[in-house]
């Protein structure tokens, strides 16, 4: 059994601090995804867990044991790299067994483990080839095989799918999820792709500038982002962000400039209650594209708000069509059914699920 604990972990390269004090507890068998924009420190954090970088401060525990000074080979981990990092002069077979060989695993046990995982990953027919003779997807499988074959307690993945084409990426994503369910080992997985994070994770850690902004299960991160950064990072197309001001108007509402006039988004009671008494405050209203649709095309619900705008651009994606429209010079995206789409210039009646709107403080970026 091996969970991972990070306590006050810091890392600086020279004068630049890359990891600025991170506490994180990962349960045995969990699949935690570290996600964030490039340069947020997610890969460095993974390298720290692996022992590929030395800590500047703090402690790292794997399976309850402090491993700050333990070299990578003794941490009971395996890692899959973005470039796959296969040894170019070795055959697939030797690539996979190298880690067992260095640990003095008997030949028979090596062969058995190789057979088991080569079959599982469907690479049995490639064992005598060199990495240079493999396709990207095959290399990826070999890299996975190399990690799996030693049966470590913890798997670390560093953007393992980002060098694959889109179709293969989705396939391998499923495969990784299946493997996790089957083996039940702890996984820490780094990616910049928020869809990968959503689909794979049991918990997501959204990172930015050396901090973890939010650590929660995918649904919470998506529906309950703690701040503007998390809200903007997760979701594609991204959440619409409208700057406005809180006003009292019967109930509470967000007043947004819209060219010469203004538009007023009434807030549902649930949100209004939290901001009662702060009229005049500058806020940002976050509306996910799927919460804006053609009026009357979905089952009626509470707290719906209707307005009309001309279509600026329509972007069919197949299952849905994205309608771009403007409020106060800002582009917003609505996700509508293809049959509801209208050509550019046509007036369009939108319906917003205000119940799912998010409200942020414009100054601090924190969720209200």
């Amino acid at each position: 059994m091996a969970g991972i604990s990070l306590k006050g972990v810091r890392k600086n390269f020279g004068a630049t601090e890359v990891i600025k004090g991170i506490d994180l507890d990962i349960e045995q068998g969990e699949f935690v995804v570290l996600v964030g924009p490039s340069g947020c420190g997610k890969s460095t954090l993974l390298n720290l867990i692996a022992g590929l970088e030395t800590l500047s401060a703090g402690d790292i525990l794997i399976g309850g044991r402090t491993v700050n000074d333990v070299p990578p080979r003794d941490r009971d981990i395996a890692m899959v790299f973005q470039s796959y990092a296969l040894y170019p002069t070795k055959t697939v077979r030797d690539n996979i067994t190298f880690g067992m060989e260095t640990r003095g695993v008997p030949k028979a046990a090596q062969a058995a483990a190789l057979k088991e995982f080569a079959g599982l990953l469907q690479i049995d027919h490639l064992l005598d080839r060199k990495p240079g003779q493999l396709s990207g997807g095959q290399r990826q499988r070999v890299a996975m095989g190399r990690a799996l074959v030693r049966k470590p307690e913890v798997f670390l993945f560093d953007e393992p799918l980002s060098n694959l084409d889109a179709k293969l990426r989705i396939e391998m994503r499923t495969e990784i999820k299946k493997l996790h369910q089957r083996l039940g080992k702890t996984v820490v997985y780094v990616t910049h792709d928020q869809i990968e994070a959503m689909t794979l994770a049991s918990r997501i850690a959204v990172m930015d500038e050396g901090h973890i902004r939010q650590l929660a299960d995918p649904e919470t991160v998506y529906e309950d982002p703690v701040d503007l950064f998390v809200a903007g990072f997760m979701g594609s197309p991204p959440m619409n962000m409208l700057a406005g001001r809180l006003v009292r108007d019967g109930g509470m509402a967000v007043l947004c400039d819209d060219g010469p006039s203004q538009i007023r988004f009434p807030l549902p009671d649930r949100i209004a209650g939290r901001v009662a008494g702060s009229e005049g405050r500058d806020v940002v209203l976050g509306l996910r594209p799927e919460t804006i649709f053609a009026a009357g095309t979905q089952l009626p619900g509470p707290d719906r708000f209707l307005f009309e705008r001309p279509v600026v651009v329509d972007e069919p994606t197949g299952p849905d069509t994205m309608i771009v429209f403007e409020i106060g010079g800002q582009d917003l995206i609505a996700r509508v059914r293809p049959k509801d789409a209208r050509p550019p210039g046509a007036p369009f009646r939108f319906e917003v699920e205000m119940d799912r709107a998010k409200l942020f403080d414009a100054r601090t970026g924190l969720r209200l």
């Binding site: 590929l52 990578p72 395996a78 040894y87 190298f98 260095t102």
Partner: protein, 292 residues
């Protein structure tokens, strides 16, 4: 924009620019080689004659004892020079690759001999190996009264002094090329090896060095080429002596061409050198150009 002629001219400009340079190469490389080859088949001595005389000069060459000395010297020098430079170069490159803070300084020290002329190198080592006042003297002063080190003037050992000086000058070069090769190894590969549990020795022997095979090939070729062409070092260090004990094909050719005025014989020896270089370089160049 102008006329049709202008445009046609513009289109052929690249060829027009390259042509004279290519022509120069044809004349001064290939033409001259042909001339030398031709002379090697004539009776030319002080002045060139152009009457075909078959393999006469080659027969003379191969029956000249001095040529055999030159060849065996080349073999000794070549083998020791290449092997020692490779061993020292690889060793130093690996040691320098171990997170050394002052690596830049050390690298500069290892490599500076490469900036020197072989004549300078020869001059210095000639002085250091001077039997009376050089290292021998240093050792005797240090208490080793019976210490003898007279390789420089000993016909049986003089060639090894050329090896010593040559290795001193060129091993840093081998180090630099190997180090560049080590540094070009993908970082994630080394991380993967660390996680696979390989220690430094195993990482080098099993992963990194096998990847440097192409670099090794280049270094061997470069060093071999240097060895075959070595002329200045021998002239400055031993002058080919004592007697002609340290003669090499390059100095042999020079001596017969410019001092003894044996054009035909000199040409024959030059052609032999060319053949040796071609045997080494052409397969290498071929594979090198194909790889790109």
């Amino acid at each position: 924009m102008g006329s049709k002629l202008g445009r046609a001219l513009e289109r052929r400009l690249p060829l027009i620019v390259v042509s004279p340079l290519f022509a120069a190469s044809l004349v001064f490389v290939y033409g001259f080689i042909l001339w030398t080859v031709w002379i090697s088949f004539t009776k030319s001595r002080v002045l060139p004659t152009y009457d075909f005389a078959g393999l006469l000069q080659y027969e003379r060459l191969w029956s000249t004892p001095r040529w055999h000395v030159a060849l065996s010297n080349l073999v000794i020098f070549w083998a020791l020079f290449v092997v020692l430079c490779l061993v020292i170069g690889t060793l130093l490159a690996i040691l320098l690759d171990q997170r050394i803070r002052i690596e830049g300084v050390i690298r500069t020290i290892y490599l500076y001999p490469m900036a020197l002329s072989f004549v300078v190198t020869g001059t210095v080592w000639k002085w250091m190996l001077n039997p009376g006042l050089g290292l021998e003297h240093v050792m005797q002063q240090a208490g080793f009264e019976g210490f003898r080190f007279d390789w420089l003037v000993n016909p049986d050992f003089a060639i090894y002094t050329v090896v010593v000086a040559g290795v001193w000058q060129s091993s840093g070069y081998a180090m630099a090329l190997f180090l560049a090769g080590l540094r070009s190894v993908d970082d994630e590969l080394l991380k993967a090896a660390a996680i696979d549990g390989a220690g430094p020795l195993r990482i080098y022997l099993r992963i990194v060095l096998p990847m440097l095979r192409p670099v090794l090939m280049s270094v061997v070729i470069i060093l071999s080429h240097l060895a075959i062409k070595s002329f200045d070092l021998v002239v400055a260090l031993t002058g080919g002596g004592p007697g002609y004990a340290t003669d090499m094909p390059a100095t042999f050719m020079y001596a017969f061409a410019f001092q003894r005025s044996e054009l035909g014989l000199a040409a024959a020896s030059a052609v032999m050198m060319l053949m040796t270089v071609i045997a080494i370089i052409v397969p290498y160049l071929y594979s090198e150009l194909r790889r790109r």
